[in-house]
């Protein structure tokens, strides 16, 4: 016991442990409350632990809103956006990092500068564009404005730069062209980087709120975040239902995050510290 106290800074640990309880408290509250009955919620003083664990709230959420539809919408939209975004980023990053052509720096600065335009500035013209193309309330309208990220491109670019040119030259001697080089050398050598970027992009799209809110009116097209927002109005503060719905929306994200935390944090610090 004495050794532990010597080896570790226990004061720091106690502070951090207390803080982590505060950070986790909302999630603990959510999980417990998803199983509460409305009687548990509205008794005073309110119960912290549900009197019985029942799954009725989940069924009631499914009965009140087309939850699976929202789920499928979110999956379809996020996956499509992520795939397009990664393809654009990988190809652009390859050209910028390994190909030599006139105006390379200018293109790089052009891509980089898009990072400094807040989404709210382009939101109105994009909405008008989407509505003039009659794409309001369509999947295309939701997907299109969110298919590019300078962050992702620069993240992948910074990995590509690190791939030695000798490797590319060797591949060229073996008869590899500029196009197959991407498949045969660049991508196989940066699988972790690309998968991290993919994960990052997916979680960003999964959370996306403002644009889908603006561009959808029909219930069938709502994504999970938009569906959750309307649940507040439609259930008129039946908190236990809100918690059941939140829990179902959060669990997949949290699972993915817990298993990939290391790569996730690494890519975050990389983009953060490089720019």
């Amino acid at each position: 016991m004495k050794n532990i106290f010597k080896r570790y800074n226990m004061v720091a640990f106690i502070f951090l442990a207390a803080g982590s309880v505060i950070m986790l408290f909302p999630f603990i509250w959510m999980v417990l409350s998803a199983f509460k009955t409305s009687a548990d919620v509205y008794t005073y003083p309110p119960r912290w632990i549900p009197s019985t664990f029942n799954f009725r709230n989940f069924n009631e959420v499914f009965a009140k809103i087309p939850f699976w539809r929202f789920y499928l919408n979110s999956i379809f939209i996020s996956v499509t956006q992520t795939v397009i975004q990664i393809v654009l980023s990988v190809t652009a990053a390859y050209a910028l990092s390994k190909l030599i052509f006139p105006g390379r720096e200018k293109v790089f600065v052009f891509i980089q500068s898009s990072m400094f335009i807040p989404a709210v500035v382009t939101m109105i013209p994009l909405f008008l564009l989407v509505s003039s193309l009659k794409l309001v309330d369509t999947y295309a309208g939701i997907i299109f404005p969110q298919i590019f990220s300078a962050f992702t491109t620069i993240l992948i670019y910074s990995f590509f730069v690190g791939i030695p040119n000798d490797l590319l030259d060797a591949a060229r001697i073996d008869g590899c062209g500029y196009y197959s080089m991407l498949w045969k050398v660049m991508i196989p050598n940066s699988v972790t980087a690309i998968s991290t970027a993919t994960l990052f992009a997916f979680l960003t799209h999964w959370r996306s709120y403002t644009w889908p809110l603006i561009v959808t009116n029909r219930t069938e097209l709502r994504t999970l975040p938009i569906g959750l927002k309307y649940l507040v109005q439609e259930t008129s503060s039946e908190y236990q239902l809100m918690m059941a719905a939140s829990l179902m929306a959060i669990i997949p994200v949290l699972l993915v995050y817990i298993f990939t935390e290391k790569q996730f944090v690494r890519s975050l610090t990389l983009t953060g510290l490089k720019s």
């Binding site: 570790y8 800074n9 720091a12 640990f13 502070f15 442990a17 803080g19 982590s20 505060i22 950070m23 986790l24 909302p26 999630f27 509250w29 409350s33 309110p46 654009l88 652009a92 050209a95 190909l99 030599i100 052509f101 891509i111 400094f116 335009i117 807040p118 709210v120 500035v121 382009t122 939101m123 109105i124 013209p125 909405f127 060229r172 001697i173 500029y178 979680l203 403002t210 809110l213 603006i214 999970l224 975040p225 959750l228 649940l231 507040v232 908190y239 809100m242 918690m243 939140s246 929306a249 959060i250 994200v253 949290l254 935390e261 944090v265 975050l268 610090t269 953060g272 510290l273 720019s275």
Partner: protein, 302 residues
């Protein structure tokens, strides 16, 4: 041997240039439609009375800007945005730096603790907002229960103009803390241990090691965190739209993006919305420049 990946002489190779064009063209086209065109358009629209309701779009000069500067609600939105930003940024930086320093010391369960602190960042904001709406419920919310247990009088939280912005701010701090912690932690871990040892040998106390050695070395990251923090706090929308629809009690949570959203997508006033969006952009731009100037004088790059 042609086609080397290192440029020799001044000749660009045709095949390589063509390949680059093929790979970059999709991105450039997408960027044109998603950034270049909208930025030009938003400037144009801000000088028109474009309205979705009455279906007019005539050029009106600077009338939208005159309207905004005489609109009390817009003034409120600017003041609220700055208040929110200062609150969020100062809490965020102090707390995240504190936690990062603790996480940098020798402690058990380091990975798990870092995972916990970062978790709120990855969770969809709407989902976590729903939890906090309940926390803030004046009647049956746990926050008021805790206050009552401590013998402090209850608050109306989101439902009173004096506390609504604070409530949003507290949520945002909880939600965003992990992001800065991770950045600061990476910065602290990159400081060589020998620096601290050298300072200790010279008789420096822990607090001196932090303020005299570590903090100056962290300054590039600190400067980055401040910049991102400013930009992000000016863009906040989701939690406000979920927790206090319609700008909160007496417009107390009316922030700039909420104002823009209301003008453009509730009132259909695209001209006014665009003008407000431009002003937001100019504010962010100016703040970034000011911040860069300050950090140029104080940041140590080593």
């Amino acid at each position: 041997m042609s086609g080397k990946f290192i440029l020799k002489g001044r000749e660009y190779e045709k095949a390589q240039t063509l390949a680059a064009a093929v790979f970059l063209l999709p991105t450039v086209i997408v960027l044109f439609f998603l950034f270049v065109l909208p930025v030009v358009q938003v400037v144009y629209i801000s000088f028109t009375n474009w309205s979705l309701i009455t279906n007019v779009k005539d050029f009106v000069g600077i009338k939208n800007f005159e309207y905004l500067f005489s609109d009390k609600k817009f003034g409120t939105a600017i003041v609220n945005t700055f208040t929110y930003s200062v609150f969020k940024l100062s809490c965020d930086i102090v707390l995240s730096l504190f936690v990062a320093v603790l996480l940098d010391s020798v402690i058990p369960f380091k990975r798990i603790l870092r995972t916990i602190y970062f978790a709120p960042v990855v969770v969809p904001i709407v989902a976590s907002s729903l939890i906090w709406i309940w926390f803030y419920d004046p009647g049956i919310g746990p926050f008021n229960q805790i206050l009552a247990a401590l013998g402090i009088s209850k608050l109306q939280w989101l439902y009173h103009e004096s506390t609504s912005l604070l409530s949003i701010g507290l949520f945002s701090v909880w939600k965003g803390l992990g992001y800065n912690i991770v950045l600061f932690l990476a910065g602290l871990q990159s400081i060589p241990l020998s620096y601290e040892e050298a300072a200790r040998i010279d008789g420096a106390k822990s607090s001196q090691v932090f303020f005299k050695v570590k903090l100056p070395l962290l300054s590039p990251i600190l400067s980055f965190v401040v910049m991102i923090g400013i930009i992000n706090s000016f863009k906040v929308f989701t939690e406000i739209n979920v927790m206090t629809p319609n700008g909160g009690p007496l417009n107390s949570t009316m922030l700039l993006v909420v104002y823009i959203y209301e003008q453009a997508f509730k009132n259909g006033r695209m001209g006014r919305g665009s003008a407000a969006a431009l002003i937001l952009f100019v504010i962010i731009f100016l703040l970034t420049i000011v911040q860069k100037q300050i950090s140029r004088k104080t940041v140590h790059y080593d």
